[in-house]
Symmetry: C2
Subunit: 176 residues, 2 copies
C-alpha cells in the first residue's frame, strides 16, 4: 500500500476557524485575512496588540481539543484509509499541552483511525512516504515523495507545489 | 549530516529500573528477569496477578516523567548531537498521558536537545534515517538505514541485528 502523510492543523483541523471563534468571543473582533496572508501565519491576522495572547492560546490545554473538522475530511479520509497507509503527522511538540488533546481529537472525530496512525513531531524531516498533504511549504520542502500544498488562508501566495484546495478534490486525486 | 534515530524507553530512559523501583515500593517484590526475557516484555517479568496493575502504570500521568536516564547516554548523546542530526523517536501514542511527560523529561535531562528533535509516534514505519538505535526488533525491521538493537533485559534472545550494549559502546561506534 502507498503511504500518505496528512497534516492536522489547517488540513483536517480548522485551526483558523477555532481561533476566530475564540477571538470573537473574547475580543469581539475579526481576523484580517490580508494580514494573515502577508505574514504567512495565522497569528498575524489578528491586531498587533492581541497577537501575543492569540499565540498563547496555542499553548493552552483544551484549545486543540475543540477544533472543528475541515469539510469532507472525515468522509474522504475514511475511504482513503481503506486503500492507503494513512498517517496523521502534526508538528505539535512545540505545544506540549496540545499533545494529548490532539490524540483525543483524532480518535473522537476520525474513529476509523488507530492510535498507531498518529505522529506528533517537532519537525517533519525524518518522515517518509509516497504523498504528503500539508499547508506549510517548510514541511513539503524536505519530503522525498510527492508533495501537495493544502490551501489555507496563510499560504495563498506559495507557488512551488501542486495544490489541494479541498477534501473533495483530494478524493478525486486519491480515490479515482 | 547523517541522521540517527534514537529510541527513548530502555535506550535512554531506564523504564525497567523505574518500574522495578515502583513495584518494590508498592508490593515489596522483585522482577523475574528470566520471565521478562521469555515473554519479551517488561510487564511479563512481574507476577501474573500484578501484570495488569504494572501495565496500568504505563498509562498513569507522571510515570515516564521520573524515569532514571540510562548510564552515559547524556554525555555520549551530547557529543553525537554535534556531529549528527539526532532525533529521539518514542512509540508513545498508545499512552496519551505519557506524551507531555516524555517531552518534559527529555528537555530536563538532555538540555542540549531542542523540541524539534523529539517525535512521539504510534509505530515507526514512516521514520527514515541513516541509523536507528532501538530495543525493539519490530521497529528495526522496517527501517531502511542501518539498524542497531540496544540491549535490554527483554531482547537478549534476538539475533537478527547488530547490537549496542551500552552508550560507551555507542560512543565508540559513532564518535571515533
Amino acid at each position: 500500500m502507498q503511504r500518505i502523510i496528512v497534516d492536522m492543523d489547517e488540513v483536517i483541523a480548522d485551526t483558523t476557524l477555532g481561533m476566530r471563534n475564540w477571538y470573537r468571543k473574547n475580543f469581539g473582533g475579526e481576523i484580517d485575512f490580508d494580514k494573515m496572508l502577508a505574514g504567512q501565519s495565522l497569528v498575524k491576522g489578528f491586531p498587533e496588540e492581541h497577537q501575543a495572547i492569540v499565540r498563547q492560546q496555542l499553548f493552552e490545554p483544551g484549545f486543540f481539543r475543540g477544533l472543528p473538522v475541515i469539510e469532507d475530511s472525515v468522509d474522504v479520509l475514511k475511504e482513503m484509509n481503506k486503500r492507503y497507509d494513512v498517517y496523521i503527522v502534526s508538528a505539535a511538540i512545540e505545544f506540549p499541552n496540545s499533545l494529548k488533546d490532539k490524540y483525543e481529537w483524532l480518535m473522537e472525530n476520525y474513529p476509523f483511525f488507530k492510535w498507531q496512525q498518529l505522529v506528533l513531531s517537532g519537525d517533519k524531516k525524518m518522515i517518509s512516504g509516497d504523498f504528503m498533504i500539508d499547508d506549510h511549504a517548510r514541511h513539503l520542502e524536505h519530503f522525498k515523495g510527492k508533495p501537495y500544498l493544502f490551501t489555507a488562508p496563510h499560504n495563498l501566495n506559495e507557488k512551488r507545489f501542486d495544490r489541494i484546495d479541498s477534501w473533495k478534490q483530494a478524493g478525486e486525486i486519491f480515490l479515482n
